[in-house]
Subunit: 326 residues, 2 copies
């Protein structure tokens, strides 16, 4: 992979991505994932074209059938002649930059379809996790003409919440008998899900899970006109109930448009993205101060108990603002 | 909860916490969790006393028996006359500030033991998740004389990695037949675990899980003298294999001390904590610029496609550094 490290190559790369060249899309996502120095140019070149795609977040615990469900959703979107982007974000692989279940084995049904772009990403322990690289990767797929863009991530944890900040429509997948009811009971999941899918609905306990979720949604307070989360049943492995999921996604998007909430969500998303990039810049500056010696010195003093971390942080902020000792 | 909002009350509060007053400890943890403005005073008052506790991270998927195992570990540490702190961090509850399974139902065995301080925390969607509030809460328990401090968190995701950054010794719990092998296979978990515990080892598939983990550890490269992760079996619900976990924790701590790695980990931890606080300060400044109007304006332009997020972030950083238009 050489030859596209220079900023003057970026506009051509974006043009090729917009024409549907999967290698150009792949290269752009890699630049985002690597935090390449040409990222500002990439972002600038994409800005006029990005921002229209419907971003669908899909999350759930390991084993609930996320990949299978995504695969089925893609199939239906393709029948609707849509160009689909899929980002499978794996926040548990911060070190190696990739999941063992990589691109090749995921969603093989669509591996050769030029109308589908599938990519696995790791969040690589970035501060802010998903919030740093994923929105920019979504922007690449969006700018390349993918609509919808599906962002799939393993649930439980911070990632789940971040996906909701990123998505227009958030799907939370559950499966019977996996302790998901208790997990879902935690307010976080209830507040992020626009659509619940009880997958593997042919298994024992599916009705109980369905009722649990319905019950909890019933308890929540909702302003007039506010979206009431839908609860659906599916057996994605047999393609059952998947058309209904797509219908619910469409209905939710129309609701967002009609109420002006879509615009609000996108502004919130943009604000979070701007902030994440700004903090990344500042963080890099902190770590670069005297080639890292400033932070290391402060850390040593804190570890010794000679300095508290707040005072140390204050010194670090001051030095970041005046890196040349102004 | 009134009367301790003023910074002049902080030293007294720290004194009371060090004397073992659980209400003082609780109040300090609340101040940390709320990001109270007296936090710098709290940190300064704790600095001379904190830094000695052995911090044990315990993570794993929902249902592997984390609370039960923590409960058993606490029982053994208490037999050893140790004062124990437990922080149960729930990163899936960012909105409400608390899990449904709160302090009261967790680890009831020790609810009335004054030598055990147990607290649930949510990470509340803080940027950086655990990295912002949890280290400061650990510092409170440490400063209050708890040693060890056990930090328990739901696995899979960013939280898992962050716990490793926070802990001296990281335990990863697995259970047979939960798809954990595949999860564990992801490099992230392998690299963070100092000790693997196959819990529910009386169940079918325990041997396979045990062998899978052993096999994967065998594949990893290790420098001479580097710790080889231990793999243990336990049935925490019947208190089986738990003494062995404590012995392995002790052995790991001795290894860290002998090799100088303990000091390195603590400096790394301090660096991460300093950086998280510094970034929190800068973030608050960004959000406060013209009462939030600056970020909102930039977000609107990005949502419109008139500006790209990198350029917007650059403007935000510049304005944060010169908030008065210098």
């Amino acid at each position: 992979m050489t030859g596209i490290r220079r900023s003057r190559d970026v506009p051509e790369l974006v043009t090729r991505a917009r024409e549907g060249d999967p290698r150009a899309v792949a290269r752009l996502v890699s630049l985002v994932e690597d935090g390449d120095e040409v990222l500002p140019q990439v972002a600038a070149a994409l800005a006029p074209f990005a921002g229209d795609a419907h971003v669908i977040g899909l999350t759930g615990s390991p084993g609930v059938g996320k990949s299978t469900t995504t695969n089925e959703l893609v199939r239906i979107f393709r029948k609707q002649q849509k160009r689909v982007g899929v980002l499978a974000v794996d926040p548990s692989s911060p070190f190696t930059g990739g999941a063992i279940l990589g691109d090749r084995v995921r969603m093989q049904d669509h591996a050769t379809d030029p109308g589908v772009y599938i990519r696995s990403m790791s969040s690589r322990g970035h501060l802010g996790g998903l919030s740093a690289a994923t929105p920019q990767a979504v922007r690449v797929l969006d700018g390349a003409g993918c609509d919808p863009v599906v962002v799939e991530t393993v649930g439980v944890g911070q990632a789940e919440v971040e996906i909701a900040g990123l998505a227009d429509t958030t799907l939370v997948l559950l499966a019977p008998g996996m302790g998901d009811s208790i997990q879902a009971a935690k307010a976080g999941v209830l507040e992020i899900a626009d659509i619940f899918v009880v997958n593997k609905a042919d298994r024992d306990g599916a009705d109980a899970t369905y009722r649990d979720i319905q019950g909890m949604i019933g308890l929540g307070e909702r302003a007039p006109g506010q979206w009431r989360p839908k609860v659906l049943r599916a057996v994605a492995a047999r393609a059952e109930g998947v058309e209904e999921i797509v219908a619910a996604i469409t209905e939710h998007r129309e609701h967002l448009q009609d109420t002006g909430e879509l615009r609000k969500r996108r502004e919130r998303r943009a604000a979070a993205e701007i902030e994440a990039i700004a903090l990344g810049t500042l963080r890099a500056r902190m770590e670069a101060l005297r080639d890292g010696a400033v932070l290391a010195d402060l850390a040593r003093q804190v570890a010794d108990g000679d300095l508290d971390p707040h005072t140390a942080a204050g010194e670090l902020v001051t030095m970041t603002e005046a890196p040349n000792g102004r």
